[in-house]
Subunit: 366 residues, 2 copies
């Protein structure tokens, strides 16, 4: 049974439970505090970024059901900041307290095969894909697709991990070994013009709002830069929003959903293909913290708390650049730049590939 | 010896100690976290708003020197969110760790007589005032000023407490009893057009920046509403900034200083009189959270941490309205209003006169 319309919004003073204590949990905590809501962070690492700005903290494994039970009993609603929360944990919590977005979104987002089947089943365009369990599967799919492809593990891939480029004639056993011989999918590599993402927030009443679509640049599998506005034409933006909306509705989604897409360039017959979804606030939406009155973090909290959604309008054009690893060592120079807003996550060691912070640069809206 | 130029900025991961755990401490904590800085809140109340968003908390009296010592040793710099921190406590802390703004600003701001003498000693205009220790003092001053006056306790007045209106012919003993027979000052009541405040942030290197001057409306001694821009002409704004600058420089001030002024209206020979100063972030600057890329809270943290100051520009016109007592019960309707940003402080009981939150409304800059 859908919850829509059944419950009152959580009043100020209520507690939002957040699974995961990384930078997204940290920024969610601050957004909740702005609204007079408390957060209880559940994380499997003892010194995580979100602990510094939350009212309560639990260090525990995501499979420790006893600890999860106590956590669930201490909060009014549960949300999460990463999509690899075990579905069993989410289902267990959902027996005690509402979990938003629901476990179904996790289930879909955790498995690239399920995700692609789900999305294409809605009539939403995705790149050609095939299930790959064996070297034979891989060889057959490579033959079928022709040209460059990407072999991806079905589960636990993020920031480009668990992926390898493959082409017809590839040594299939070696390619599978490169992704740990895990259950995988093969995707045809599209020659897209750029990557974009749709950030939709959907309320408990089914109302949805869209942030302007950022254009994203990745390198080494990690998002480096997002800019708004993107180069999409208005009708292409409208198509992108409709695609994301269809996915959010089919998941009976509550909160911010990020839908990453490939844009094939102006004049393409099929201009947009969904790459993947993230059932959470998203790195490509960090510019909303400075360019919009209501950020993606606040709107996610509003949605999961059953509050009216805030505006998704922006007052400025924006560029978001991730500070990865040693990039953050330039904090002093970046803090001195006019028009640059700096956000640091409180992480201690600047390991390679680790997201340490980001900057937003604002420009007048033309 | 001045600290100017002597020290490096505190790197991300450093800890800012904050004396006081109310809403200003809460918003300072969040601003610090945005920059990757931790906060340790010291407060004499166990369930205070800032505890929910800080990395460390100490509950202790402001005269418990043992606890203050431990607090000072756990942080890299100390600041405060209210001006009634005992000067002895600030001086004690300053022997262990930098205290910014320095104890001198507290000393001046805590005593209305010292404050008025200090400011007028700088050649900055204040309303006529007189020291009042006895009924005789009061009678003499009333005679001298003529017309309506205000009798104010020298210490511990805020939000209109410890004040009473008096006029020639008043029963002086009764008037003094009404302010608790405490050492007091008499101020001549000016017939001003409106109240404004200058929010200046001054860095450790003496550089200063000014937010646009808000026009403030009080009722019952409590700030209700601030709007930017004010009705001051450009040259009057410049005069107001110069007055605030003189005060900040004379205090060798570091951080955000609020200087409340009376504006006598267009064409006045002496258009501006300083009413009082607050050596901290200020309620009349809460609009900066939504109308400026860098809020007063972030700039205060930048200053006390020795960072480069951020921009004080605003991208929008703004109106800030305090939610006092039961006003905050309208949170649901306010959260649904387009163009309205809501901030709630996590306080449990909506007592009369208690600041529970505020809203900012944004309007296009003309």
């Amino acid at each position: 049974m859908s919850e829509i319309g059944l419950a009152e919004p959580l009043p100020p003073g209520s507690t939002i439970g957040v699974l995961g204590g990384g930078q997204l949990g940290r920024m969610l905590s601050m957004a909740a505090a702005k609204l007079g809501l408390r957060t209880h962070i559940y994380c499997d690492e003892p010194r995580c970024p979100a602990f510094d700005v939350s009212a309560q903290q639990t260090v525990g494994s995501y499979t420790d059901f006893e600890r999860l039970t106590a956590f669930a009993r201490s909060v009014d609603v549960v949300t999460y900041e990463f999509e690899n929360v075990p579905v069993e944990a989410a289902c267990h919590l959902a027996e005690i307290v509402p979990v938003r977005p629901g476990p179904r979104a996790l289930q879909v987002a955790q498995d690239r095969l399920v995700e692609k089947q789900f999305i294409s089943g809605l009539g939403v365009q995705v790149a050609p894909f095939a299930r790959v369990d064996t070297a034979q599967d891989l060889a057959a799919a490579l033959d079928r697709f022709g040209g460059q492809c990407i072999l991806k593990t079905r589960r636990f891939g993020y920031d480009g991990k668990g992926q390898v480029s493959v082409a017809p004639g590839e040594n299939c056993a070696q390619a599978l070994a490169a992704v740990g011989n895990a259950p995988a999918i093969l995707e045809k590599r599209l020659s897209f013009a750029c990557e974009v993402s749709v950030l939709v927030v959907r309320g408990r009443d089914g109302q949805d709002r869209f942030y302007d679509i950022p254009q994203n640049t990745h390198s080494g599998g990690i998002l480096r830069r997002s800019v708004v506005p993107s180069s999409l034409a208005p009708e292409e933006q409208e198509l992108a929003r409709r695609m994301a909306q269809r996915i959010a509705e089919a998941l009976d989604y509550v909160g911010v959903l990020a839908v990453e897409m490939f844009y094939m360039g102006p004049g393409s017959e099929e201009p947009l293909y969904v790459n993947e979804i993230a059932p959470r606030v998203h790195n490509s939406g960090h510019w909303t913290m400075d360019a919009c009155p209501v950020s993606q973090f606040e709107n996610h909290i509003r949605a999961v708390a059953g509050w009216p959604l805030g505006s998704t309008e922006r007052h400025s054009n924006a560029e978001m650049i991730n500070l990865i690893g040693k990039d953050a060592q330039a904090w002093r120079e970046l803090a001195a730049e006019a028009g640059t807003l700096i956000h640091l996550y409180g992480k201690r060691e600047p390991r390679d590939g680790r997201k340490m912070g980001h900057i937003n640069r604002l420009f007048p809206k033309c």
